[in-house]
């Protein structure tokens, strides 16, 4: 069914229509996820990262609407599809993993029902084959005795196992793109590692993964590229390792210096003052300028577009990316090299310094 195809999102704009005004929640977000690659969408709560993904899936709440842009999956613009056509994409071509399996799995249906129903909806196979695949996938994600466990209800599994079952539910149709919305935030560190390694195997098979996260460690361990979102906009877009080695945007570097790291006791903890704006009160100009220690008058007046940035990007050597567990397939490696040079940042001051 779904052969490997890339997801290209371009100038995505999403709005929430409230009673008295329209809120721009996602503003001109662009990115590409290629087969076998993982993109991290990094941002704090309210940055619009989840809404952006729900826009691509076209599963916005009633008040939300996509106001512009494209989301091409293997050449088809998902935003232009009819609801009927879109339904065929969901679950079959794009799978989704949620933060909390306890909430995302229906408590009153068995795993079998929940793992096979979309195979049947999409007409991928018949019931018997669907069950066989479901059992196989449950085994793949490391659930012991899958033939037996498939008859259980979600609440009968431990937290880690539930999360695995949910990943299995998204994987069973072998989608070309997987959207994972903070899949490891609610689990313990040891389980987190196991889940990430599980997802890495999926990536190795050619699935493109979008990982929404606020954890820079997770992004670095698992992802190839990252976009950093703040107040609905992308403030930085870069391969992950140079991004963390040399954050360009003041917000990215603020996030970095707010993040504590084991074994880095000496690094100063420099919190960003203030809190992220809620979108109803988005500051003019660069939304980050009220919290930015480098802000000048100009920052509060004009929008900051994404600009190419090359500062300090040169010290990245090809091959370091291979450590993240991506397959050493020649073609993808070439692209990775190509991408190491391409970084974008939405800050004129950073561009000047870089």
């Amino acid at each position: 069914m779904s052969s490997a195809s890339s997801l290209e999102v371009e100038d995505l704009r999403t709005e929430f229509v409230l009673r008295d005004r329209v809120l721009r929640v996602v503003d001109d977000v662009s990115f590409t996820v290629e087969p076998g690659q993982a993109l991290a969408i990094v941002g704090e709560s309210g940055s619009g990262k989840s809404v952006a993904m729900r826009s691509v899936m076209r599963l916005l709440p009633k008040t939300g609407r996509v106001a512009g842009g494209q989301a091409r999956l293997g050449g088809t613009d998902l935003l232009g599809l009819s609801e009927r056509q879109m339904r065929k994409v969901r679950g079959r071509d794009i799978g989704m993993v949620f933060q909390n399996a306890m909430e995302a799995l229906n408590p009153t249906l068995t795993l079998e029902r929940q793992l096979t129903e979309h195979l049947l909806w999409h007409g991928i196979c018949d019931r018997a084959e669907a069950k066989r695949r479901a059992v196989e996938t449950l085994g793949d994600v490391g659930i012991p005795e899958p033939e037996k466990r498939i008859r259980t209800y979600p609440f009968q599994l431990s937290g880690g196992m539930r999360q695995r079952a949910m990943i299995a539910m998204a994987m069973v149709t072998q989608p070309s793109v997987l959207i994972a919305d903070e899949p490891t935030t609610a689990v313990d560190v040891t389980v987190q590692r196991q889940l990430l390694d599980l997802l890495a195997r999926l990536k190795a098979r050619g699935t493109g993964v979008i990982m929404i996260t606020h954890d820079l460690g997770v992004a670095r361990y698992f992802c190839d590229d990252a976009i950093v979102m703040y107040a609905g906009r992308v403030v930085e877009h870069s391969p992950i390792r140079p991004l963390l080695a040399h954050p360009a945007h003041p917000y990215t570097s603020g996030l970095f210096s707010s993040t504590l790291e084991v074994g880095a006791r000496q690094r100063a903890l420099r919190p960003i003052p203030g809190s992220p704006p809620d979108l109803a009160h988005r500051p003019p100009g660069c939304a980050f300028h009220p919290r930015c220690d480098r802000a000048e008058e100009r920052c509060g007046q004009e929008d900051q577009p994404l600009l190419p940035w090359s500062g300090n990007g040169s010290d990245l050597v090809p091959g370091t990316v291979a450590e993240t567990g991506r397959p050493t397939d020649e073609r993808t490696d070439d692209r990775a090299d190509e991408r190491t040079g391409r970084r974008e940042v939405a800050c004129w001051k950073a561009v000047q310094h870089g």
Binding site: L59, R87, V89, G91, N106, P107
Partner: protein, 335 residues
Amino acid sequence: MSFMTYLSKRVVRMVLSLTAVSMITFTLLQLAPGNFADIQRISAGASQFGGAGTEDMVHAFASRYGEEIPAWRQYLIFMKGAVTWDFGPSYKYPAQDVQDIIAQGFPISATIAIIAVLLSLVIAIPVGVYAAVRQNSAADHGTMFLITLGTALPNYLTGVILVLVFTLTLGVLPSSGWDGPQHMVMPVLALVLGPTAVLARYVRSSMLETLREEYVVAALAKGGPRSTVITRHALRNSMIPIVTVLGPLLASLMTGTVFVEALFRIPGLGLYFAQAAASRDMPLLMGTALFFALILMTMNLIVDLVYGYLDPRIRAAGGVSRWRRSQKSPQRQPA
């Protein structure tokens, strides 16, 4: 705890409650001014202009119904029979045993009740789901407006309006009695409005809550057709709380809505109960009260069992109350 232990505990609690109900009813009856004989005398006196022999009549009544012996013994005698489902003859209808009156009246009340509840379910579920899916639309507001009318109007008022329209104006339906399906139409219609409104409200709010759950989004994200997701994922889970409302509702309708039975002069159980209370007919009152309580508690038990069937979490815990309690302790227990 096995299912059987659970069930037997419930039965023990039911027996205790029934005993309490019988005691309360009996005490109230003892506190009431006048006994059956007095009431008979008053009504007899009223009709026979104080005819002779009433004193004798009272005395005869008193010895016949044991009203001369102490109250606690009367109670014990009654309860002794009640245990074997023998409530003895009614005072007012001495030719009939109370259990026979129940056996006659209950099917009538139950028929009306079951038809009314089924009908209201058939109407309420689609209406509630529709209103929830279209939340805040004009259709939702309109439906809920009509629903409010239904909740606000008591069934006897609806009954009066129905009589006005169908009997007095159109003349198509008989206004009283119990003899064939044409007698059922108006009582059922009068009864159906309230439960429909209540159920539709519950379905709507329960459905709204379920639709906000993440597993509904997750099902849509798997490519589920909206209608399938709504019926298979959302509706099933929304129906679970509805069951808790349904039990008491059915029970209270089955035990006869006195007002409607009085209005349409239907010989249902509710009517007998009201008469028994008015005439201090001890065995009939005690019998019907116990029977009502029994029905209500059985319904609650059935609800709990069905609830468990619908929700595997409860099935696994072994009963609703245990599940609810277990929700409080181990899950919230600090780790």
